[in-house]
Symmetry: C2
Subunit: 224 residues, 2 copies
Amino acid sequence: MTIESAPAPQATAAAARRPSVAVLVVIFTVVDSALQVLLIERSAPPAEGHWAIPGGALQHGESLDQAAVRKLAEETGVTDVFLEQLYTFADLDPASNDGSVGVAWFALVDPARVRLAQRTAWRPAWWSLDDIPPLAFDNERVIDVARDRLINKLQYTNAAYSLLPEHFTMRELQEVYEAILGRPLDKRNFRRRLLATDFIAATSEQRAEGPHRPARLYRFTSRS
Amino acid sequence: MTIESAPAPQATAAAARRPSVAVLVVIFTVVDSALQVLLIERSAPPAEGHWAIPGGALQHGESLDQAAVRKLAEETGVTDVFLEQLYTFADLDPASNDGSVGVAWFALVDPARVRLAQRTAWRPAWWSLDDIPPLAFDNERVIDVARDRLINKLQYTNAAYSLLPEHFTMRELQEVYEAILGRPLDKRNFRRRLLATDFIAATSEQRAEGPHRPARLYRFTSRS
DNA sequence: GCAAAAGTGTTCGGCGTACACCCATGC
DNA sequence: GCATGGGTGTACGCCGAACACTTTTGC
């Protein structure tokens, strides 16, 4: 690591008590037009009984990306989705003032692909963002940062690809955007803008779903 | 830290070999219409003789912010400037595969306020961004990320306040922007756009600097 | 008066936004 | 034939980009 070993005599002192590195993954999805986040009920101290963002220690030989991918897969069974580093927090747990850091990531998953871990303890569950329970540590702050980033990313990237199945209707896509942005969007403007980006393209398929005109299906031109 | 102690038996194993946490600070300035970055010549292994981004281990009881502030002050004597977390890297030093992480920050400093640390070894020096020497570890990547973020920040924040003295001319401000963006800007459009943001305001002062009309001085309305 | 940098306005194209009606289908 | 959601076009305001001349000063 890029440490100036020589001019920092404190470095050696600090090394005597090496901090741990944890990875947290804020996992978002959109179900029933609501933005939801995956939380885990802690079944042991500290903060037993509180809900928290899934996370765990960085393992030996593992890169940060790998740890985030692993953590996401452990909880949801999903891989190959939007997953991006968010921010690194040093003081999430004010009680343990040991210099531990938590590297937070955020992920977007299609609810249809998720298989939540079926543990009895430490069980994960989806929580709607405007109905979050009291969280352990300072996890509210992490979720706030993640949500801001998500709103931002949505404006100029194809990140939504990760929240939807291969094929989807324009309405489904719009509902995802509306859930994340938290406001209604104009149908015509939305369609025009999204098609202008080249993130998505029409397929030749349609989907009939009721007593009305069938909807054309679209796909993301790139999934990454 | 938000670790799931119970369902992650690996966590205890990983704790046996706790990784270290370092903080790196990419310090930018603009001198002579050139974007420059502060580098340090390493005087001991690893990577002895190579230049690197200033950094050091997180000290006990210190938050990440505090470590970044301290590191910046050690090298430049400057405090109270734009300083923001950038990204956290786990594999900067491929040789030491010990799970150490480097939390990179980036800072913007006014060259007039800087007093570089005057060591004989580990001496810091400014390097123009388009003339960077071979760097230790993977520090080129860190600088690339920092530069991208800087360009981005400049578009919609008042970050430039940190690169200029209290009072400055419109031309000086434009030169800072041009150095960072790497392209010339139109004088009239630049002036109009910046004044429209309310980041800056005119003062009643002028500065006469040669056989030509004196320039009005401006200031940032907010310095944070 | 002349050299040098400061200061100023207008035009144009693109983009986001507001807004209302016809279309295709199942029953 | 009617209820239901799918699909479409236009007008306007704002913003970024291009572009050239006058003003103020020191010598």
